[in-house]
């Protein structure tokens, strides 16, 4: 893969929590304007990788390159300004604040309330359901609406790369479809997407590339369709019971 279309690269990244090391020298490359899904067993370091890249965990060793620049050790605020956005797993809204206030906070790193308001208009256009609930407390939204709000909040910055961790968790199959449709829509407008997803088969089905993490290292990478059809991977990571023909 030529370096020019690599948007994110980690080189021998070592990171973890406290005394526990989770990533043991993970080297990955994520291509521009693609959907890349990371799969791997529990504890392989998928979420840790996101947190280390986003500056929430220290990179003890190794290097992180984003759009050709070394971002190792950069704080989230600086990364957001460079076009990297992160939607973590679980609920990340400010439940006591309104939908509009949550979105507004998404624009804090823009440093301009006027620009934030303008971008909010675009987010509301993309998610009409959020516009209808703009004044409602975020905690009163349905699970799907909350996920939309989290994604919308990240899109406010018009990121180049969106890292999204387990977007489908807790959502009904119909809403999972909506979220995946949203991600492919983003990809088609030129946003790169890096996703960790429990629902690996469905995620790979909409992905261009796949990375397989195992014990804190990259075990395999390739086209999502290849990984999806890889007999060994299928047995190991995509649900052993469902052996593919």
């Amino acid at each position: 893969m030529a370096d020019s279309n690599i948007i994110l690269r980690t080189e021998k990244l070592v990171s973890g929590y406290g005394a526990t090391t989770i990533l043991h020298g993970a080297s990955i490359a994520v291509r521009e304007k693609r959907i890349t899904t990371i799969i791997g067993p529990n504890g392989a370091g998928k979420s840790t990788l996101f947190r280390a890249v986003f500056g929430l965990l220290p990179a003890r060793e190794g290097k992180i390159m984003f759009r050709g620049e070394d971002i190792t050790g950069s704080a989230p605020r600086a990364l957001l300004r460079r076009g990297l956005a992160y939607v973590p797993q679980g609920r990340n809204l400010f439940g006591e604040l309104s939908v509009a206030e949550n979105l507004e906070l998404g624009g804090v790193s823009l440093g301009s309330l006027a620009l934030t308001r303008q971008r909010m208009g675009a987010v509301f256009e993309r998610f009409p359901a959020l516009k209808l609930r703009a004044g409602a407390q975020a905690s009163t939204l349905s699970g799907g609406e909350q996920k939309m709000l989290e994604v919308g909040r990240a899109l406010l910055l018009e990121p180049k790369l969106l890292m999204i961790d387990e977007p489908s968790i807790g959502l009904s199959p119909k809403l999972v479809g909506d979220v995946f449709a949203l991600l492919t829509g983003l990809r088609d407008t030129g946003v790169s997407v890096l996703m960790v997803e429990q629902n690996a088969r469905a995620a790979l089905a909409i992905s261009d590339d796949a990375l397989v993490l195992q014990q804190g290292r990259l075990a395999l990478s390739g086209a999502a369709s290849e990984i999806l059809d890889h007999p060994e991977i299928g047995r190991l990571f995509l649900g052993g019971g469902l052996k593919r023909a």
Partner: protein
């Protein structure tokens, strides 16, 4: 009837001062997880800074207040955060609590040693006397204290609810990790919290000291009341701290007159026990949420 109105006004006015200290206490807890057991001393010290400024620099009360405000924001705000809370925070809540208790003792003993162990008279910022409102007469000082406290509380609420920086502080209080992920300058918001707490404490000192006189151990009862007010109102709600402070002020004044001055310090403790027994989340608190 007139007595009751007077008591009510003085109770609310005392309570508003307690509320200032309690709201600062709650604010610190919510945004930083600091339970500041030196909060009473944070009200005591600014009074002595004002006294020192008036005596040494020969300035008026208002200038002394401004000097004290600046010094307190530096010492009890920024330096408190940098030198005590930041290094202690990652050891957990309890070591931090013990550190603040130690700080409180240190401040108390330092004032006793280097200033005086005697209670110092402290000028009231409002004229003495009473004014008549219809058939009742109320103390001008009470009304003035109430007015200043209400303006301060409203200003704080407006800042938190209506300004972007205020909402960023709320975001930090509700979910620090999410705030960081969105690029909220978490450390700066935390610093603001410490500065606001120091400012509230200084204002409380200006308002409360004319009544209690400036004494090194004033913080003991004030700190306890701020703590109880915060618990009674609901530990995770600013308006709870406000209500708790007002309630204790009222009970305090009515107890002193209708029951006994000897029991007035026991009443907040009894109130605390009753609330913890029957409504442990506080009057306004709800489990698992934080609101500024």
């Amino acid at each position: 009837m007139s007595d009751i109105v007077q008591l009510f006004v003085s109770g609310i006015s005392t309570g508003a001062i307690y509320a200032l200290a309690a709201m600062g206490f709650t604010l610190l807890w919510q945004t930083t997880g600091t339970i500041n057991f030196a909060q009473g001393e944070f009200v005591m010290l600014p009074a002595f800074i004002m006294l020192a400024a008036m005596n040494l620099l020969d300035v008026g009360l208002l200038s002394a207040f401004v000097i004290s405000l600046v010094v307190s924001m530096v010492l009890l705000g920024a330096a408190f955060k940098r030198a005590l809370v930041d290094p202690m925070a990652h050891h957990g809540v309890l070591p931090l609590i013990i550190a603040t208790i130690a700080l409180g003792i240190f401040m108390k003993e330092a004032v006793k040693t280097f200033y005086s162990a005697e209670a110092q008279p402290f000028a009231a910022f409002a004229p003495e006397g009473a004014m008549r409102i219809g058939p009742v007469s109320v103390s001008i000082e009470n009304i003035a204290v109430l007015a200043v406290a209400v303006v301060a509380i409203l200003a704080l609420q407006l800042f938190l609810q209506r300004t972007f920086a205020g909402r960023c502080m709320q975001a930090v209080a509700q979910n620090r990790e999410s705030a960081r992920i969105l690029g909220v300058p978490v450390e700066r918001m935390v610093l603001y919290t410490f500065l606001i707490n120091a400012a509230l404490a200084t204002l409380a000192a200006l308002l409360v000291t004319p009544t209690y006189l400036a004494k090194f151990d004033n913080g003991e009862s004030l700190g306890l009341i701020a703590f109880i007010a915060a618990i009674v109102g609901g530990f995770n709600q600013m308006r709870g701290a406000l209500a708790g402070g007002l309630l204790i002020g009222l009970i305090d004044n009515f107890t002193a007159v209708y029951i006994s001055t000897q029991y007035r310090h026991a009443i907040p403790l009894i109130l605390l026990i009753v609330v913890i027994l029957f409504r442990p989340q506080g009057l306004f608190g709800r489990a698992e949420e934080r609101r500024l």
